[in-house]
Amino acid sequence: MMHLRVASVFLCAMLAIVVACERLPGAPKASIPVVVGSPSWTLATFNTNCRGCHSQGAEGAALPLVNPGYWKIANDDQITKVIALGQGVSMPGYLDENGGPFSADEIDALVKGMRSMWGGEPHDGNPVLPGTISPTLVVGDAVAGALVFESACANCHGANGPAGSVTDPMYLRLISDQGLWSAVVYGRSELGSPPWNSPMPNHPNGLTPTEVADVVSWLATKRTQ
C-alpha cells in the first residue's frame, strides 16, 4: 500500500514536470531568428568578423570600411573576392571552402548590406572626389613612380619624414600591391594620411590615376630589395 502511494506521488510529479515542461525555469529562451542580409545581421556579422581590423576613423589597424569614401570608389565584385579568398598576409579568406565561416551567398549578402549601410551617404569631411579612379590595380611605370614619390610623398615618408618609412622592406612584405594601392587612394585622413585626390606637396590637386599606378609600382619594386 505504502509503496503504491509513493509510486503514485512520484508519477504525479513526473506528469506535472511533463505538462509544465516549456514553463520550467530551466527551459531555454527562444533565440530570435536572424535573417541573413537584414541590417541587423549585416551589422552583427561585420562587428564580430571584421571590425577588429576594419573599423572607422582613426580606430582599427587596417583600412576602415565604415567609411563612405571607401564605398564611393570600391567595386563590389572585387570586395566580394577579397572577402572570400583573403588578401595579402593578414586578411583571412572567409569563404567556407577556404576554411572560413561563410557561404558564398552570405558573403554576397554582407557586401550588399555594407554598401547599403555605408555606401549611400555623401563623402563626409573630405572634399568631394573630383576625378574618378578605377578600383583595380593597374601596373604603372616604376621609373616615373620614383619621381612622383620624390615630389609628393617624400616630405612625409622620406628619410626622417614624420610619417615613417613606406619603403621599409619589412613593411612592404606585409602588404599586398592592392593594399598599397588602397593606402594611396583612400588614405586615412584621421591619421594624417591624405587620399589620392587631396592636396599633396607639389600636387595641389592631388595625384592623377596614372601617378597613383606609377608610385604603387615603384613601391612594389622596393619590396624585393
Partner: protein, 502 residues
C-alpha cells in the same frame, strides 16, 4: 486463478530461452550472492554512479540522433534540439547534469573506498579498473563539452592543445592527432565526436563489465573494524565463510537501499535539469557577447583554477608531469599497502591525504569559478585596435597592430581595456620589456602563452615588436625604443610641406 494461468503461460518462453542461453542460471548468483550485513548506506555510491552512466547512454543515444557533428551545423543543431524538439532541452539538460553528477558520485565512491581501505587484498584490480573508469569518464566529460562547439569548448581545446604541445619531440604530431590539424577547426569536432560517441563509451562499457565481474568474484568488502586486519593468505577463505554465515542476499536486501538512494538522486537530477536547464551552448553567433567568460564544465573547473595560479616558470613541468604522476599514484594505491588495517581510525595519515585532496579540489574549483582569467575567442576580429594606439604610428607599426589582431594576440591580451584576460594587458608593455625580451616572449611563449616562433615570419615579428614598442602610458612620452615616438603627423604643417587634409 487467471493470474496463475498467465504465469504458467509466461513460463514457456522463459524456459525456452533459459534452455538455450542459461541466462537465469548465469544471473542468479549475481542477484542472490551474499553481501555483508554491515554493508549499509556507505555502499550506495557505486550503484548511483552506474545509474548516472545508464542515463548518459540513454540520453546520449537520443541526442546522437539529432546532433550534427559538423563545425558549421553543430551550434544550429543544438538550438534545434533546445527549441524545436519536444523535451529536447530536457534531454540535453539531463545529459549535462547527469554527466557532472556522475563525476561527483564517482569521486565520492572512490573516497569511500579509499577511506575504508576496500582496495586492499583481494580487490586491488577493482580499484585499478575504477581508476581507468574515472579517466574514461573524465575524457567523456571533456569531449562532451567540445560537442557544444562554443567558447567554453574553445577553452578546453586550447588548454588541451597547449598541454600536448609541450610534450618533448612529439608535441607537434600529438597536437595534430588531437586537433586533426595544426589549429582548432572542423576536423577537430569530427575527431572529438568519434571519441565521444564510439571509442570512449565503448571503453567505458567494457571497463564497467570488468569492474562488475570483479565485484561479484571478490565480493563486497565489510565495514572496516579496527583490529580486523587483512591477511592476504587467509583473507579469502575467512571472508567466504563469514558471508556464508552472516551475509544477506544482494537481492532484495541490499538492493533496496541502492534503489532508494538512486531514486533520490534521480529526483534531484530532474529538479536540477528542470530548474537550471541545459549547459550552453554559450556565445557563438551573438556579437553582443564579446566579453563572455569561457569556462570549462565543473569537472574541469579545478584545472582551470590551478592553471590560473601557476607560476609561469614551472609551468611545463606542472602541465605535463603532474597529471601523469597523479594517475600513477592513484594506480599505485593498492600496491603501496594491500594488507593490514582497513579502519580509518587506524590509518590517520590516509584520512589526512583524503581531506587534503578534497579541500584542494574544492578550493581550486572556487578559484576557477571566480577567476576573471580567460581568453575571448573572437577578440581578434571583433575588437578594433583603439585609436590612441594607431595615431602617430609609422606604417610598419600600424602593420604590427594588424598582425597583433590577425595572429590573435588580442584573444588573450587586452588593449585599451578590451580583449582577453588570459595574459596581462599590454597597454604599457614597452615600459616593461625591451625589444629583445619581446621577441623572446613571442617566439618562445611560456607562462600559458603559446610559442609563436614558427608561425610568424621575420616581417610579422619586426612589425609586431615595432608596434608593441609604442605601447606606453600617455604621461610617459619617451619610449625606450628609438623612433617609436614620432610626433603626430597632424601637428606637422610647415608651409613648404603642403597642406594636410586635416
Amino acid at each position: 486463478m487467471i493470474l496463475a494461468r498467465i504465469l504458467a503461460l509466461a513460463k514457456i518462453p522463459i524456459e525456452w530461452i533459459e534452455l538455450r542461453t542459461g541466462a537465469i542460471a548465469f544471473s542468479k548468483p549475481m542477484l542472490f550472492h551474499h553481501v555483508p550485513r554491515s554493508a549499509k548506506w556507505w555502499y550506495v555510491f557505486g550503484s548511483a554512479t552506474l545509474m548516472f552512466f545508464t542515463i548518459q547512454i540513454v540520453t546520449g543515444v537520443c541526442l546522437g540522433t539529432m546532433y550534427a557533428p559538423s563545425a558549421a551545423q553543430a551550434w544550429e543543431s543544438l538550438r534545434y534540439i533546445d527549441e524545436d524538439v519536444p523535451f529536447g532541452w530536457m534531454l540535453r539538460a539531463l545529459h549535462g547534469w547527469s554527466s557532472t553528477a556522475m563525476v561527483v558520485m564517482m569521486v565520492i565512491h572512490m573516497l569511500q573506498v579509499f577511506l575504508h581501505g576496500s582496495f586492499k587484498f583481494p580487490r586491488e584490480l577493482n580499484w585499478i579498473t575504477g581508476v581507468f573508469l574515472l579517466l574514461t569518464v573524465l575524457a567523456l566529460a571533456f569531449t562532451g563539452q567540445v560537442m557544444r562547439w562554443d567558447q567554453d569548448a574553445y577553452w578546453g581545446l586550447g588548454i588541451g592543445a597547449a598541454i600536448v604541445d609541450r610534450v618533448p619531440i612529439f608535441g607537434d604530431q600529438m597536437r595534430g592527432l588531437l586537433l586533426g590539424g595544426p589549429i582548432i577547426g572542423g576536423e577537430t569536432l569530427n575527431r572529438f565526436f568519434a571519441l565521444h560517441v564510439f571509442i570512449l563509451p565503448g571503453a567505458a562499457i567494457a571497463l564497467v563489465g570488468v569492474h562488475m565481474t570483479l565485484i561479484i568474484k571478490n565480493g563486497i568488502s565489510e565495514m572496516p573494524k579496527p583490529g580486523a586486519v587483512v591477511v592476504p593468505s587467509t583473507y579469502r577463505k575467512e571472508f567466504e565463510e563469514r558471508m556464508e554465515k552472516t551475509g544477506v542476499p544482494f537481492f532484495p536486501d541490499a538492493v533496496q537501499r541502492d534503489m532508494v538512494f538512486c531514486g533520490t538522486c534521480l529526483i534531484i537530477l530532474i529538479i536540477l535539469a528542470a530548474s537550471f536547464g541545459p549547459f550552453g551552448p554559450g556565445g557563438m553567433p551573438d556579437p553582443t557577447l564579446i566579453d563572455t567568460n569561457p569556462r570549462p564544465d565543473y569537472p574541469f573547473m579545478w584545472i582551470f583554477g590551478a592553471v590560473s595560479l601557476l607560476p609561469p616558470a614551472s609551468e611545463t613541468a606542472i602541465m605535463l608531469i603532474t597529471p601523469a604522476i597523479g594517475v600513477l599514484i592513484l594506480i599505485a594505491v593498492p600496491f603501496l599497502s594491500n594488507s593490514g588495517e582497513r579502519a580509518p581510525s587506524r590509518r590517520p595519515g590516509m584520512v589526512l591525504v583524503a581531506v587534503f585532496v578534497v579541500m584542494a579540489i574544492v578550493a581550486l574549483t572556487y578559484e576557477g569559478v571566480t577567476s576573471p582569467w580567460s581568453p575571448v575567442m573572437d577578440a581578434w576580429s571583433s575588437l578594433a585596435t583603439p585609436a590612441q594606439f594607431i595615431k602617430g604610428r609609422t606604417p610598419l607599426q600600424v602593420q604590427g597592430a594588424v598582425v597583433f589582431q590577425s595572429v590573435q594576440c588580442r584573444n588573450c591580451h587586452e588593449l585599451g581595456g578590451f580583449g582577453g584576460k588570459r595574459g596581462p594587458a599590454l597597454d604599457e608593455i614597452s615600459t616593461r620589456l625591451s625589444p629583445d625580451q619581446l621577441v623572446r616572449q613571442i617566439q618562445q611563449g611560456g607562462g600559458n602563452m603559446p610559442a609563436f616562433g614558427k608561425n610568424l615570419n621575420s616581417a610579422q615579428m619586426s612589425a609586431l615588436v615595432a608596434f608593441l614598442g609604442t605601447l606606453r602610458p600617455e604621461n610617459e612620452p619617451d619610449s625606450k625604443i628609438p623612433g617609436a615616438n614620432l610626433p603626430l603627423p597632424t601637428s606637422m604643417s610647415p608651409p613648404d610641406r603642403g597642406v594636410l587634409t586635416r
